[in-house]
Symmetry: C2
């Protein structure tokens, strides 16, 4: 028999890990509900046609496809068809429905768009939903990148108001504050990126410029300038872009400077206006919860950053990205999102604008571990264990056990009348705080001895007293 | 563009459905934790070799297999290999690792066994874990049967004590009591089924007898007797089985009568002894939480039923099944489980006995809907909506909004300064209880009007007063 294993890029979550992950999910869920967002869940499997072509060529390649069932039960006549379709599987990533017609969810956004289109008549718009589910990608596994990982999205669709953008900034702020993760939130607009292309006189080069700028953090300006040149941007254009990149100052100062440089780009002025309004809405919201002394509330960690690009092609307006600002942690983006003007158009419903953000649960988990900010009591579990002395004492212990549970005390009995040392060793390994000893003396007196595992202190008391002392 | 859809047998869960499902999950989670069980999660994908051959021939057929990625990128030389392996896919359900090496989780038991074997050195035994995750089966979809559905299991491994069986009965009782689902819990032992085969003098026919008996509810004794005959059981054997089936009375009376009939079957006497002990432990546990007047606590809905078979072959001792006892509901089993003596042996770890039960979440959900026992406040969500009057009033509204949320009141603002009627219609469709009206007058007085949507009552008050009145 070979040693069992799990597929590369997947993980088992131990009890302690599940509890910590639940803590993150519950914290986020509570905040989302406070903001009026509603929970949604979609199936793990989607029709392959729903997913293919939505994530670019790379995405098509990375989608996990499910083999149709019962292929070996087909009649011989059908097998000819199957064999010819098999050749299609071998020649392109867009596999044939005869061999595979279902695939695993690749993200939460496309299934959400599909849901909105299917249920457009039942939904009260604007519709705010949140969704926390796993997604699967056949990426090469590496540190912090898994083949099964969790996404957590909040989206607001059916409204073009920038209040939505501002609310999402508040959600990010509140969430990371509650999780005790210090962050920087970068904001930009796809429209400013389009304006850069305008400045170069090459509006068709927006994607090239975006891709190059995205590397600013990694390769510095000289590297970016070289890449821009390779991608066919003229010297003068590169100089214009450098001027924009070099703008420093507060968010308001940056927007004023951009407006000066981009005054002849209609799309640029639109982007600047939208970013300004988003920040103004954000300040009004923040004003409501204090920081009244400061002009801009919790804005010190929100940074307008024109080099922020975000990979996905469907963004059209404000975009946003979250990174951990602690020096101690090296981790890429732990969240991001933006405005998309026509996502549901992919499935035939035009004119529904939306904006959404995502939380990278697995990376947030890793950051919280590194920062050691998970609440200590999360790993607790069982609070009291009854030692099993067998015979009549066992019967007596079972009766005590249910009284503890009825008082909401997580409790268990060692199920076998094993050696005392073995039982204590188990309680110790489990990190159980109290051990209850219902021996002969205790049973005859209708009492129980309670031992505090940490202090070693042991005291005999009535069962009622034990319940009260364990509840505190 | 074709209308979007989801794969047959899968479901989207709307906000109201997600909240109700969460209610079930949270109720069960709370109980499991009280009983000292620890949460575990395993990957959606397992290696195909982990799953194949574990669920019988039918299971192998119904496992969803994942096509390996990047097949179209293989070199031509490798494609010869692929083509020959493809023929294996077409000839047997046990597909080849070259074409498919991963599959979707089919149940929670085998992954649990795999986990225990992989982590045997880190686990403190006896190990009690619970797990609530979806599983996938390529079954033909029908009412109450889905291709993606949720299982929820509690298992206790590493102890042969029948206290575990009794604790699981208590978990079932407490869970269905909390969920307000009236149930009958049937118990039996695989050992009694083996004894029936002994009685017939045909110990090798145990499975045949089990399969036939399992249909007692549906086809009655005459039908079962016919099937037994077809399956080669002699007249005398059938007569012995009928005698056992005809035993009526309390659980204790049944066990006494069985002992009389099965006195020459060692395995039968063992099974009777185990059932008796399990019920005794159960009564001790129940005694702890009252029902002191009655001799056997909450035992009236626990029924020893010798026709109970449970399909899975790995059970070896006590088995259990839960059905809803309400006349109003027609639904098969909503839970079941039993003792298995050597599950981890499948993966090379011998001698670890376990016992577990399962909750059929999707069926329990359906039953609770039919009985209308979900708490009413679950669908609530947003409690207060601020009407958006635009301009300065919008700014004022945003400030109020964050004060509500800071006081833990789920609130939202209509994001656009749309027509008043449109905003009210939205609030109505969403079922929002209170609408807050921050107009010119309110803003100038630093107050807000609060409208109770149900009574129609409207009152102007300070924001602080509004917060307090909405909190209550």
């Amino acid at each position: 028999m070979s040693k069992p294993s799990i597929p590369q890029g997947t993980r088992d979550f131990s009890p302690a890990e599940v509890r910590r992950r639940q803590y993150i999910f519950n914290t986020l869920r509570t905040i989302f509900e406070l903001y009026g967002a509603q929970p949604l869940e979609t199936p793990s499997m989607e029709n392959l046609t729903t997913l293919m072509g939505k994530y670019g060529e790379e995405g098509d390649r990375l989608i996990f496809k499910i083999l149709n069932n019962g292929l070996h039960e087909k009649k011989d006549a059908d097998k000819d068809k199957l064999n010819s379709e098999w050749n299609n599987v071998l020649s392109r990533p867009y596999s044939t429905p005869v061999v595979t017609e279902r695939a695993l969810r690749y993200d939460l956004t496309i299934p959400f768009a599909r849901y909105v289109v299917m249920h457009q008549n039942d939904i009260a718009f604007p519709f705010r939903r949140y969704q926390m589910q796993p997604v699967w990608r056949a990426d090469r596994p590496q540190k912090g990148r898994y083949r099964e990982f969790w996404q957590c999205d909040v989206d607001m669709v059916g409204s073009t108001s920038l209040i939505n953008e501002a609310e999402l900034l508040c959600i990010y702020q509140t969430a990371f504050q509650k999780l005790k993760v210090p962050v920087t939130i970068k904001v930009n607009s796809r429209k400013l990126l389009a304006a850069l292309a305008d400045l170069c006189g090459m509006p068709e080069k927006m994607i090239d410029i975006t891709v190059a700028l995205d590397k600013l953090d990694k390769i510095g300006w000289v590297g970016v300038a070289n890449e821009l040149k390779e991608r066919g941007i003229a010297e003068d254009g590169i100089w214009q872009i450098e001027k924009v990149i070099n703008v420093k100052g507060t968010n308001d100062e940056k927007l004023v400077a951009y407006a000066d440089i981009m005054q002849h780009s209609a799309v640029g002025m639109e982007g600047i206006n939208e970013l300004g309004k988003t920040l103004a809405y954000y300040r009004s919201l923040e004003f409501g919860i204090g920081d009244l002394d400061s002009d801009n509330g919790r804005e010190e960690n929100i940074v307008v950053d024109i080099s922020l690009a975000r990979g996905l092609n469907y963004y059209t307006g404000v975009i946003v990205e979250v990174v951990c600002s602690s020096e101690a942690v090296k981790m890429g983006s732990i969240g991001g999102g933006g405005r998309y003007d026509d996502l549901t158009g992919l499935f035939g419903l035009k004119g529904v604008s939306g904006v959404g953000i995502s939380f990278g649960i697995d990376r947030i988990y890793d950051v919280m571990e590194e920062l050691d900010v998970f609440p200590k009591q999360l790993v607790e579990g069982t609070k009291a264990m009854l030692v099993n002395f067998g015979g009549e004492n066992e019967t007596y212990a079972l009766q005590i056990l249910q009284q503890l549970r009825a008082a909401n005390i997580a409790a268990e009995i060692y199920p076998d009348a094993a050696k005392f040392d073995k039982q204590m060793k188990y309680a110790n390994r489990r990190g159980i705080a109290y051990v209850l000893l219902p021996g002969d003396e205790e049973r005859q007196k209708n009492m129980v001895s309670v031992k505090n595992f940490e202090t070693g202190e042991q005291k005999m008391m009535s069962v009622g007293e034990a319940v009260i002392s364990l509840q505190s």
